[in-house]
Symmetry: C2
Subunit: 305 residues, 2 copies
């Protein structure tokens, strides 16, 4: 089973109360593909500039991610993002954004990418997402977006959402998109547009899954140290979509619940160190152990008669 992710590849400068990195590999498509790589074959599609070199490719290749569809734009600079976190790690304070080659990104899928069974549209301008979706023959298409596009490209985003199967958004974005404060009704409003599943990301509280048949909630893993939350949402999406891509029927309820939990597992490892550092050296055994810890953490016995 193979999965294609289209999105940003970046250099990040991040400072948190626990340390600092001046320039490290980042970007939604990078975090996503590293997380998904534990479950299926992953191809990453995104643009890079002349500053993107062997060290960066080595991180992706180290996890077996196929980088043939990374587009090298000669003379360009890779997307750069600088931010800091204070003790409230739910909020990133952006200091600088230089889109570089990402600003002119017009993704063209290779034949291999077009025929991939699963596609993830990481957060990009929704016209671009829709253009990619139309090139793909995938049976499962997931999408992430953000408040910026809800505010500035709402109609395009709604049209794009109508063509995908699974939508991931922060819970505030779910409400903003639908103008519905009640989460259950807001998620249903998105499903009425076309998707059969909506995942509301809740930051430190975990995530909730809404389908036409039901509801599932997974908490975040309680950690003593959250060093850098950058990429948590993308790692979550990578764990979820990667697992779903590896299964015969992604719409099966038990499968979706496991996928949500793998998403939470990958996000929890991601935030324990800076950037891709922890996930890059993660093992499948560590993932399975933490999956079991999640099961134990949420297990509830029936009340005795």
């Amino acid at each position: 089973m193979s999965l294609v992710v289209v999105g940003s590849i970046a250099f990040d400068a991040v400072k948190s109360p626990f340390g600092e990195r001046e320039r490290m590999l980042g970007g939604a498509a990078v975090h996503f593909s590293l997380a998904a790589s534990f479950f299926c074959d992953v191809r990453v599609v995104g643009p890079v500039g002349d500053d993107f070199g062997q060290d960066e490719y080595a991180v992706l290749h180290g996890r077996g991610v196929n980088t043939d569809d990374i587009e090298h734009v000669a003379g360009g600079e890779t997307f750069f993002w600088k931010a800091h976190y204070e003790f409230d790690m739910n909020l990133a304070h952006t200091e600088d954004t230089r889109l570089g080659v990402f600003g002119e990104f017009e993704p063209k899928l290779s034949d291999a990418s077009k025929s991939s069974e699963t596609l993830f549209l990481a957060n990009i301008q929704p016209d671009v997402q829709r253009g990619v979706r139309e090139q793909s023959g995938a049976g499962l298409v997931g999408l992430d977006s953000m408040n910026l596009w809800i505010e500035t490209a709402r109609d395009s985003l709604l049209e794009t959402i109508a063509g995908v199967d699974l939508v991931l958004l922060n819970d505030a974005e779910v409400r903003m998109l639908t103008e519905q404060p009640n989460m259950l009704l807001a998620a249903r409003a998105i499903m009425d547009m076309g998707p059969s599943a909506v995942v509301a990301k809740q930051g430190e509280y975990g995530a909730a899954l809404f389908t036409r048949e039901g509801y599932f909630a997974v908490p975040a893993f309680p950690l003593e140290t959250v060093m850098d939350p950058t990429g948590a949402g993308d790692s979550f999406a990578g764990g979820l979509l990667g697992y779903l891509a590896s299964q015969d029927d992604w719409t099966d309820d038990a499968t979706l619940r496991r996928g949500m939990t793998y998403g939470s597992v990958l996000a929890s490892f991601n935030v324990q160190e800076f950037g891709t550092e922890r996930v890059a050296r993660l093992t499948r055994e560590e993932i399975d152990e933490r999956f079991e810890a999640f099961r134990a953490m949420t297990a509830l016995e029936a009340a005795p008669d």
Copy 2:
């Protein structure tokens, strides 16, 4: 098994996007005792004024709550609170607070209350809570508090917490009290003061339980309509403490998890209508059904080999 709750008995005026009540029975001790009444014998201790009459007693008696220790202050007025909610139901906008007889409340426990096995100190000034705790021989003592006391009576609150077994606070209050942004470390800091369990209430995200041995998270029940969130936290506490009071060993992990879930069940019914309206006519069968719905909602099967 019997349980005593000490706290406010009130009249509330509440307006939400879904309706309005100009004067209805409320108060932490009322919401708590109605919720707890499904699991054990409950005595409620709190002051009322001349305006508190047979209609109000009838609600409590309707659920079998013992009101012998309600203190009627002749010539006084019952605590009155007026607030409204906007679409973000996590925040109550207080318009008026008239403490009335609650301002001079100096609770004295009756002999029956002193010998009760379980005691809950609802949100009151921490000196008053400690005075009650010292009169009681209970084996399980729970406590709620609020940001006001953390800011204005911090040392007294810390001393009071040292003498109880289970602390319930909003997660922001857990952080504020301990000056520790990480929830896991913050909860441990509270347990280092004495309590063996900390419950962090998370509003629409549910609640988390921290003990020395482990962690448990329960989501809130997804509802199409939240009509009036007033008393959700107190109903949660009532469901939790009421269930724990009914069991032989409240420190048992499976028991605590069930208690957390019953707490979430009672809170979910509480918010579906105004004030005490829904819980007052709730049945044990409805509680058991929703408990099972919670089990189904969070159930996670192991990954196949």
